[in-house]
């Protein structure tokens, strides 16, 4: 069972990495195209800034999930590192429950925003805002699942972290 979940997760991670990569590349192209067209053609692409911002939102939420898989989010482990192993496991379980609670709040809020905004078109590109908000509950849901998996890993003694700080 766990094996299947892990395989699915790994495949999804790889797929999403490509998605965020493409999003960032498109952001570069769109914003640069606007600079060029405004400077040389005296013609500003009204939708470019808006689309790029929406891509940024998607990139951040998907990227947050990706960074969460390997515990890359900024945090402070100087205190818990000094705890004995059993206490550390218990603390991790409690804090993971708190994280799930926080993520659930954001997921619910994001869902409400999404449902309320499908008829609301964005100013320039006229995209229904609900689709942009949709990434909030999706990413939070994925992170909740990830937290549950992490808690399980804590008790069987498997580490999820990889590289160190990144910015």
């Amino acid at each position: 069972m766990l094996k299947i979940i892990e395989t699915v997760y790994r495949a999804m991670e790889k797929f999403l990495l490509y998605i965020v990569m493409i999003l960032l590349a498109l952001m570069v192209i769109i914003v640069f195209a606007n600079v060029v067209s405004r400077y040389y053609l005296q013609f500003s692409l009204a939708w470019s800034e808006e689309i790029a911002r929406f891509m940024l939102v998607w990139l951040v939420f998907l990227g947050s999930f990706l960074a969460y898989i390997h515990d890359e989010h900024l945090g402070l482990d100087i205190l818990v590192k000094k705890f004995p192993p059993t206490l550390r496991k218990m603390v991790a379980t409690v804090t993971n429950l708190l994280v799930i609670f926080a993520l659930y709040a954001v997921m619910e809020g994001g869902y409400l925003l999404m449902m309320a905004n499908f008829d609301w078109l964005s100013a320039a590109a006229e995209i229904p805002q609900g689709y942009i908000y949709a990434i909030v509950p999706i990413a939070c849901g994925l992170m909740i699942l990830q937290t549950i998996l992490k808690t399980y890993y804590v008790w069987i003694g498997k580490s999820t972290s990889s590289g160190g700080p990144s910015c």
Partner: protein, 425 residues
């Protein structure tokens, strides 16, 4: 309220809950406390904190730095710095500082600066018989100039959350960054003299010209970035995207060192790094909303007034002390995101210029990048030269002292910061 906020935030953080989630939890606590819990409000303020065009400069500057690195620009910058200052006693130390300052003109991140310059120079310094912990300390300290000399990721963040002109903040960082660079070189001078380090290679006229020509493409970038922003041709975000395209074209077609196959990894890494920073930014926006409604800055101002008797000089002293303590244990970005919404209104209450205050805050928190126990840049430096944090602490002290001296100077001579930004409209 202030107590509730502080205790809940710091207990969440010290229990190793990722800072973004700690901020969301604190927001929830404050909402429950003031009886206005609404999940839609939390989600929409997080969303608002991310959906922001100026913040897009962050992934772009990250990309530009990394593409420069892989595309061979960093190596040429180091080579040119070597031609400039390498031929004196302990020359490679000055090369490190000068190269870091040049690289800082394109990159806005201390980690990028340190790893780019360190990975090239540390092996050479070791081979030349330089003291490894001392060299690592120097490279880490000069890496901290990265976010002080424009462009600067922390200053973008400060500008966005404080509603302060990013261009002015950028310009305000120029003098402090140069001062730190000069200070580090002075400290290195005495160290190199004492140790009697070898003199570096002397470049002949034609070699110097060759090094300059190689680096010229790279050195155009700071001019393109800053020039374009100051003259108003484009915004900082657009300048960042121009830098990405420029670094890509030069790496691909001029230096021919960048390969298409290297791009996916660069983009994936930059996306993740961006997500990490901006998730904290979104969460801090949600917390900031509660900080404002709970009137925490006013409470803080009152507490500070009692401590300093309403004296600005003393107030800035206490603010700096607070920032140093927080900077020791917390990363630059989250510390900035948490403290800026609380402290900026306080500074404005004292009638201080927000540009001045933002630069002081960024410089102060940059010192935190190389102070143990938590110093991101320190980890990078130590990782590169494979030494422990314990070994590097003592050699770092004189460099940290230099940075404190500069911090003191800019805190009490504000015109050092505000002179250049006041030249532009």
């Amino acid at each position: 309220m202030l107590i509730t906020f502080m205790t809940s935030l710091f207990s969440f953080i010290f229990l190793n809950i990722p800072i973004a989630f700690s901020l969301i939890l604190t927001t929830i606590v404050l909402m429950v406390y003031s009886n206005e819990l609404s999940s839609a409000n939390i989600a929409s303020s997080i969303y608002r904190g991310i959906d922001n065009f100026p913040l897009m400069a962050i992934p772009f500057f990250m990309l530009a730095g990394e593409i420069m690195n892989v595309g061979g620009m960093s190596r040429r910058i180091v080579n040119f710095a070597n031609a400039l200052v390498g031929h004196v006693t302990g020359g490679l130390g000055y090369v490190a500082v000068v190269a870091s300052m040049l690289f800082a003109g394109v990159s806005g991140s201390a980690v990028a600066d340190t790893s780019a310059i360190g990975s090239i120079l540390l092996p050479i310094m070791k081979k030349e018989g330089y003291d490894t912990p001392k060299s690592t300390a120097l490279i880490s300290a000069s890496g901290c100039i990265g976010p002080i000399i424009p462009p600067s990721i922390p200053m973008i963040i400060f500008g966005v959350i404080g509603g302060v002109s990013i261009v002015k903040l950028f310009l305000g960082g120029i003098v402090p960054g140069l001062l730190i660079g000069v200070g580090l070189m002075i400290v290195w001078y005495f160290h190199a003299k004492k140790r009697g380090y070898s003199t570096g290679k002397h470049f002949s006229k034609s070699e110097f010209y060759k090094a300059f020509k190689g680096a010229a493409w790279a050195m155009m970038l700071p001019i393109i970035i800053l020039g374009g922003i100051v003259t108003g041709v484009y915004t900082p975000t657009e300048a960042a995207v121009v830098a990405v395209v420029y670094a890509f074209l030069v790496g691909m077609f001029v230096y021919r060192e960048l390969k298409f196959s290297q791009l996916p990894a660069i983009f994936m890494h930059a996306s993740k790094a961006t997500a990490i920073v901006l998730l904290v930014c979104g969460a801090a926006t949600a917390a900031g909303y509660m900080i404002t409604t709970a009137q925490i800055p006013q409470l803080l101002l009152k507490a500070l007034d009692q401590l300093s008797g309403g004296n600005v000089i003393l107030a800035m002293f206490w603010i700096n002390i607070l920032l140093i303590i927080v900077g020791c244990v917390m990363d630059l970005t989250p510390a900035l995101l948490i403290l800026a919404p609380m402290l900026l209104p306080v500074a404005e209450g004292y009638g201080l210029d927000p540009v001045y205050f933002g630069v002081v805050m960024c410089v102060n928190l940059c010192i935190g990048l190389i102070t143990p126990p938590v110093g991101t840049v320190l980890y990078v430096g130590c990782g590169l030269s494979k030494i422990s944090i314990g070994e590097i602490t003592k050699p770092l002290l004189p460099f940290i002292t230099v940075m404190f001296v500069v911090l003191l100077l800019i805190t009490y001579i504000p015109s050092l910061i505000t002179f250049i930004p006041n030249l532009v409209k």
